[in-house]
């Protein structure tokens, strides 16, 4: 069992409240997943820049002097904003590959990369994870979150969702995949490597590889139905929106709500209880083996 939430705003006026709304939804899903929690939030884009979210278990030591050291290594133009165990680095987009190589050589964990996406995830109760990163104060256009009850791999930061396997793409999952080892090997043959033993990361890598091969988000999600075996309700985030797909058996719960202001996804209706105008929203259960996505 895990909890998933997602929120896609249709009105810019709500953007400053995105983190607050998502945090309430995430905390409501605590008893579906008390092991770890995470959120991917799509916020402001900086022209010509890329954001890299990193994590360290010893942030004070690792983030001190990082701005200067990374700047020297890649030739300047870096800002580092530490947020608890994470830091968001902003740097020129053409320096992305060099920067990642430098960060990995220092043993820093890459949570995600993108022009608008930031990822925050840690072990612990959703309310504690939300508080340490100040999720409530974050704004943005859309975001997805996850509360994890671990089954397929250890309770660690790297085993927490969302998983990001390409720039501005991420995935959260409720369920368990049974062909993830086989798919991991298939992807490795194509040169796509995952960082953890986790089944969901393979699902994320599968979707990213399909998109890299030219598939649309809809086609990539459609592909999960035939190529991934097991139980899944997936919510995937991209720069422009989010998508939802459930396996044909659809035993993992899912409910959606739409108003003029937003589209919301959750494992259970109670995560919607505090959303504005929910009483008048169109609320429905996504059909099995059917792809839904919203993009701006």
């Amino acid at each position: 069992m895990c909890g998933i939430v997602g929120l896609f705003l249709k009105q810019d006026a709500l953007r400053p409240k995105l983190g607050d709304m998502l945090t309430d939804m995430l905390i409501t899903m605590t008893d579906r997943g008390p092991d770890s929690a995470g959120i991917a939030i799509y916020g402001e884009e900086a022209e010509g820049s890329v954001k890299i979210t990193i994590q360290s278990d010893t942030p004070d030591a690792d983030f001190d002097g990082l701005e200067a050291a990374l700047g020297a290594a890649i030739g300047g133009g870096v800002t580092v904003k530490p947020v608890n165990t994470h830091a968001v680095l902003v740097l020129p987009v053409e320096k992305e590959t060099d920067a990642i190589a430098f960060l990995e050589s220092k043993g820093l964990r890459i949570m995600g990369v993108g022009t608008s996406m930031e990822i925050y995830k840690e072990v612990g109760l959703p309310k504690d994870v939300a508080a340490r990163f100040g999720l409530r104060e974050m704004g943005g256009s859309h975001g997805i979150g996850h509360t994890r009850m671990a089954t397929e791999s250890a309770v660690t930061t790297m085993g927490a969702h969302p998983f990001s396997t390409a720039d501005d793409q991420c995935l959260v999952h409720n369920g368990s995949l049974s062909n993830h080892n086989q798919m991991r090997r298939k992807l490795a043959k194509k040169g796509i490597f995952t960082k953890s033993e986790n089944d969901t990361e393979v699902g994320a890598a599968y979707i990213s590889s399909r998109i890299a091969d030219g598939a649309t988000l809809g086609e990539a999600l459609e592909g999960t139905i035939s190529d991934l075996d097991g139980f899944f309700t997936f919510v995937t985030g991209t720069k422009n929106g989010f998508g939802v797909v459930r396996d044909p058996i659809a035993c993992k719960p899912a409910v959606m709500a739409e108003t003029d202001d937003y589209v919301a996804f959750a494992s259970e209706y109670r995560a919607f209880a505090d959303l504005p105008g929910i009483e008048a929203a169109r609320v429905w259960e996504p059909e099995p083996a059917t792809v839904y996505f919203w993009e701006r």
Binding site: P248, A250, C251, P253, V255, E268, Y269, R270, A271, F272, A273, V283, W284, E285, E287, P288
Partner: protein
């Protein structure tokens, strides 16, 4: 009419209050406000009582109901009216998966749609769904009636025993051993009565009946090679 506000009254207190009221045979009316998708609202009622839930609920609402009438003015999560013995549960909105599972009696009246596995292993309950139902509905259903005014999803009535399935719309596919059967006068009569009880605007003649071909009841030696 007494009101229990779930924004201030804990779930357990709400259920204990309702269960004691039901047991006292008082036939009182209760209103539950602010359910906010809570699990297990109004479960285990054993006696005549009228309960109205003002909003949507989560998992296992109205489970194990006996004699009470429970109306949900919203949608319900998975497992609504699971193992109902008697009484009536009315859902004004939609019901999530396995609505009315293993129910032994009473009427489950869903005004919206029900999703997958509606009436799974039903054992005597009557279920009327005014909208559509999802895949694998009435799987291993043993007894009772499932009436669907809309369409049914894949594998309707898979491994069915003696429950009667009536569908007005289309059936995406029938499950193993489920077949269409002729509508005889006694079925029209049963359907007429159920539609009237559920307040459904439909004519019995518009429905098709599905039931068990009874080929899975006994092991067939000619199929030994298939195992």
């Amino acid at each position: 009419m007494s009101t229990l506000d779930m924004s201030v009254t804990p779930l357990r207190e709400v259920n204990v209050t309702l269960q004691e009221a039901a047991k006292s045979q008082s036939n009182n009316a209760y209103e539950i406000t602010n359910p906010r998708g809570s699990h297990a609202v109004a479960v285990g009622l054993d006696g005549p009582l009228s309960v109205t839930v003002k909003g949507s609920t989560g998992y296992y609402c109205a489970g194990m109901n006996k004699l009470a009438t429970i109306r949900v003015e919203g949608s319900t999560g998975p497992g609504v009216a699971e193992n109902m013995m008697s009484g009536e549960v009315v859902i004004e909105g939609d019901a999530s998966q396995y609505a009315g599972a293993t129910g032994r009696g009473g009427l489950l009246n869903i005004k919206g749609n029900a999703s997958s596995r509606c009436g799974i292993s039903m054992k005597g309950i009557d279920i009327v769904v005014h909208g559509n139902i999802g895949h694998m509905s009435a799987f291993m259903a043993q007894k009772g009636n499932l009436v669907v005014l809309g369409d049914a999803g894949d594998a309707l009535g898979d491994s069915l025993y003696e429950a009667r399935l009536f569908v007005r719309g289309t059936v995406k596919s029938l499950g193993a051993d489920c077949i269409e059967k002729e509508m005889r006068p006694e079925h029209i009569e049963i359907l007429q009565e159920l539609l009237a009880r559920a307040g459904a605007d439909a004519k019995p003649e518009e429905f098709k009946r599905y039931g068990s071909a009874r080929r899975l009841y006994n092991f067939n030696i000619d199929h030994a090679d298939e195992y």
